[in-house]
Amino acid sequence: MTDKNPDKGFVALLGWSLNAIEAVDRFDRRYVVVAPPWAEDYCRQNDIPFVPWDFDRLNERSHELALTLEDMGVDVAIPIFEETVEWAGAVNAVLLKNPRLLGQAMLFRDKSLMKRRAQLGGIRVGVFEEAHDRGDVIRFLKRVNQTLLKLDGDPNDPIHFKAFDKSGTAGHRVIRTPEDVDNIPDEEFPALLESHLDGWEFAVEAWIKNGKIEFLNISEYVTLGYSVFVPATPELEAHRERITEEIEKLIEVFDIDFGFIHPEYFLTSDNKLYFGEVAYRPPGFNALELIERAYGFNGYQGLVLAFDPKTTQEELDAFFPKEVVDAKGHAGCFGVYPRRRVVSRLQVPEETANHPYFEFHELSDPREQKVAKRSAFGTHWGLAYFFGDNAHDLRDLLKRQEELDYYV
C-alpha cells in the first residue's frame, strides 16, 4: 500500500472492481472496499481494507452502512457500479450531511425519471416512453413507425429497449419486429423505450468538482457494444465546445456538485445533439484504461480526487492534463464475440496481430464449444487493445475487427 496522506480524505469504494482497488491502493488516499462477503477472504489475504456488504435493493440498512463508514472516519463513498449508485447517494447524504444526494442518486438510477428530468431542464431528448409489459413495446414500435409514415410491409425503424436499472449494454435491446418483443424476458420490465436516432453516438466522461468540469473526455463509439476509442476523431472533437455546454446543462439540471458522470449522446445528421442517458459511475468497456493509455492519468484516481471533499484545486490542476492536446495518441478497444457457432480455440487474426496499432488482448480461452446466440448486447469474451497516432486509421481498424474471427 502506498503511504497514505492523513490530511486527505478517506474514501469508500462501493462495489468490487480489482481495477479500481488497485488504482486506489497505489494512490495517496486512505480507502476501504465495500463489497459482497465473498470478497472477504481475498481481501484478508491481500491486505485490502474491507467491509462486507450485500448490495441488494436499497433498504433501511443503508443508514447502517453510512454509520459504519462514518465511524471508520470515511469522508465519502464512491460508486463503482450502477447497482451501487443509490447506495453511494444514501451514504453520502449522511456523510456529507446533504439529504439531497439521495434524491439525486435515485434520478441516476431510473432511466425514465432521468430522461424526464433532462427534458424538463431543456435538454433535447428523443421520443421515449415507459414500458411495463410487451404490449407497451409493440404499441411504441407501431406508433414510432406510423409517425415515420411507413407503410405496412416496409421494414420498421428500430426502437431501443433499456431495462430501467441495468447499466451500459446489459439489458439494452434493439427491437425491430414483434418477434423481438417476444424474446424479452419478464425480468427486464419495466423498461425505457426510445426511438432510434440515426447519427453519431458517443459518450462523455467528465470529472466534476465544485460544479465545474475538471476533465472532459469524449469517447467515440465505432459500433455500440463493440468498440470505442479516445480521444475522438477531429470531426467529433470539433463539437467539443457545444458538448461542454451540454454537460454544464446536465450539471445544472441534476444539481451535481462533485463526482463523475458518464453520459451518452447522439449527434444527428441535422447537427443536433440528443441526450441519451447519464450514469454517475465509471463507464464499462474499460474506457478509463483507454483514457489512461492516451493521457497517462489513472481515471479511478481522478475519481477519488473528484469525490474527496478535501481535494484542493492545485491537486486537480496538477492531476488532469489538457484535453486532446496532451494525448499521446488514440487508444481504442474492441470487444470480441465469437462469430462462429462452434469454436475451439483463440487465434488472433493475423492481419490484426501484424498491425502496428495492435497492442495486446485480454481474451479468455473458449470456455464452451457452443456459442450462445446473442440476444441483448451481452458480454464479450474479452477486449483487444489498440493504440496509434491517426484517429481515422484507428476507427477503420476497429470497424474491420467486426469482420474477423478471433475464435476458430
Binding site: 480489482l18 488497485e22 491502493d25 497492442e359 488482448h361 480461452d365
Partner: protein, 670 residues
Amino acid sequence: MTLTDASAKDGQTGADDAALVRLASTLDMAIERLERARPFAKSRHQGPVLDVLGRIIAQSGGLGVVRQRAPRMDAAGLFAGSDWDRPEALLPQLVGGTLVSEDPAFQALEAASLARFLAVADGDARHANLHQEGARHFLTQVLALNLRDLFGAPDEAARTLGARHDLKRRVLSHIADHVGLSDVLNVLVTEIWRLLEQRSVQVGVVKDMIAQIAVALNEKGTEPGSTRLGAERLVSALFGPTTASRDDPGLEIYIERISVADESGLSREAMGFARAMHDTGLVSDYHATFLRWALDYDARPLIPEALGLGSTGLDCWRHYRGLIERLVRSAVSPATPQAAYGLAMMLDRGILHHAPMTPALERQLTLGLGGAARERIALGFGPAVPPETYLLAGVLQVLGQPLGVGQGANPTCQSARAIAMWALNDPDYLLHLITQVAEFDTLQMQFEGTPINSADLPAGLAGSGPIDADPVSVLLVAHLDRIYAEMGRLCAGRPGDPHTWINPQFHGWWVSRDCAVAVDVATGKLAGYDDFLRRFFGAYHPEYNGGRPLGHPQPAGIAVTDAQQRFVGWHAIAILRVAEDQSGEMRVYFYNPNNDSGQDWGNGVVVSTSGHGERYGEGSLPFDAFLSRVYLFHDEPLRTQGSQDLPTEAIRAVRDQAIASWAADRQPDD
C-alpha cells in the same frame, strides 16, 4: 562442421527491424503496468505481457529482446502465482513440451523463463534462488533433452506442429548460441554417466537423452576424443551392443541373424549383452529379444551368460531355473527390457534362497491386477504390454535395484523410502503388500494395535498417487501415503516428533525404537543439540559404538539445504552403513529417495554418488558433513556404550556446520 557452427547462423541479435522495435516498446509498456500492479492484481497484467511476448518471440531477433528484459519481467511478477516462479524447482524435461504448447501464452511464458535462465547464466542478472552454475546446468539439460529438435530433420510429429516447432527450434538455437553447444555433448555424456552410476529403476529420461545423442552424432558428427568415445559407448549399449546388432538392424532381422548363428557366435552375443548391461545398467531391446529367443533354444542355456550372472546368481540359476525362465518369459519384453537387469541383480543378491521368496514370486507370476490398480498401471505405462507385465518387470527391478527407487516429481519421499527399504530388507513383505493392492486395492497395516485400512482413508499428499514413478511405486504409493498420514493423525497430541512412533510401526521391527530429534517440534528451535550429536556418534560411528556395523537400514530425517546453505525443507532418507572409504575417511552411506542423490548442500557438502566407495544407488558424505544436516535419527533404547571418549572439538565442528546452514535461525533464544 562443429555443433557450435551449426547454430551460429540463426543469430538472434540485431533488433533493427521496425516491427520489433515497436513490439518492444509495447512490451515495455505492458511490463511497466505489471511492475506497477499490486501483488494481488499481478495476474490481470500478466496476460498482456504474455500476449506481446508471444508475438515478439515469433519475430526474428525477438528472443534477444526478451532476454534483455527477462530479469525485469521476472522482478515485475510475470511468473507470480505459477510454477515458473520457482526456477530452482523447474524440470528441464518439461520445457520441450511447453515450447510447443497449443496455448501461445504457455510458449511465451516458457520462452521468458528460459530467457531469465540465460540472463543469469550469462552473468547479466542475478536471481535469489538461481545461481549462475545452476542456470547454466539447467539450460544445458534443456538442450541435451531436445537435441533432436535442434539438429534432426523434423519428423512427422514435428512437421504437424508447424510454426510451433519452428519456434521451439529457434528458442533452442538461441540458447545454444549463448551457452555454447560444444560442451553440451560433453556435459550430457558426463551427466548421463553420473545418473547411470546411481542405477535408477527409471531410465526413461536417460534413454531419451542417449537417443538424442545418437541423432546428434549421426547428423553432425563430432570431433574424436573422449567425449565421442563415452557417447558411442552409451549409444551402442542401447542400439547395438553386440556383433550381430552393431548396425541396429531392427528386431526381425536380428532374430534371423541369431537363428543361423553358431554356438560360439551366440555365446559372444550373450556376453556382449551382459557386458553392455552391467557397464551401463541399460538393457537394449535386442537384449530383451535375445533373452526371449534363448528360452526356446534347447542346445544350451544362454540365459545365465546373457544376464552376466556372478557366482551367487549362477547358484540361484541352478536351484531355480524353472522359476527364472518363467520370470524371463513373463517380464522381459521390448517394452520392459530393464526387467532383465533387475532380474540379474536380484539373482546376484541371492534373495531367492530366502525361503518365502520363491512362493512369493510364483504368486506374483500368476497375480492378476484388478480395478483401480489395473487402470493406474495402464495410465502410467500405456498399452504395449498388459499391466501385469509392467508390474512384474517393476517388481524384478525394485528387488534387483532397491536403491534405484525414486519418488518421481512427488512429495512422497517417505513412501519411496519405505519401498526401497523393504526391497532391500524385507522383499517378501513387499510382495505381500503388492498382492494386497493388486487384488483388493487396499493396504492393511496396524498402528500400535489399531488396524488401518488404506481404502477407508482420504487421499494423502500424493492425491490418487504418482504415475511418473516405477510400476511398484505407482501401485503402492497412494496407499502408503494415506497410511502414513493416518499414522500421523493417530499421533496427534503426543509431545515430540511423530516420526518417533510412526517409523517403526510403518516400516518394521528393525527400525530402532528410540528416536532423537534436534529441534523442539513446537518452536522449531534447536534443543539439546550437543547431546543429539553425541548420541549420533555413539549410535553410528564405529569408533564410538564399539565397532558394531549397522544391521538394518535406519530411516533418518535431514534438513536439506541448497548450494547457498539455505534451508530447503525436511527430507526422508535411510542410513545404510557407516564405513571408511578408500582414503580412510569415515563416511555415511545413505539412500535418498530423491531421484538424483548427487546434490550440492552448500559449503562443500556435496553428496557423492561414486568414487568414494559407494555401491550403486548410494549417496555418501563424510561423517561430520552428513551429521551436520541430520535432524532426526533412530537409536536403540538398549545399547552398550562405546569405550572411546568423544572429543569436544568433533561436536563443535559439526555444530558450527549446522549453524552455518539450516539451523542459522534456529538457535535457542537463551
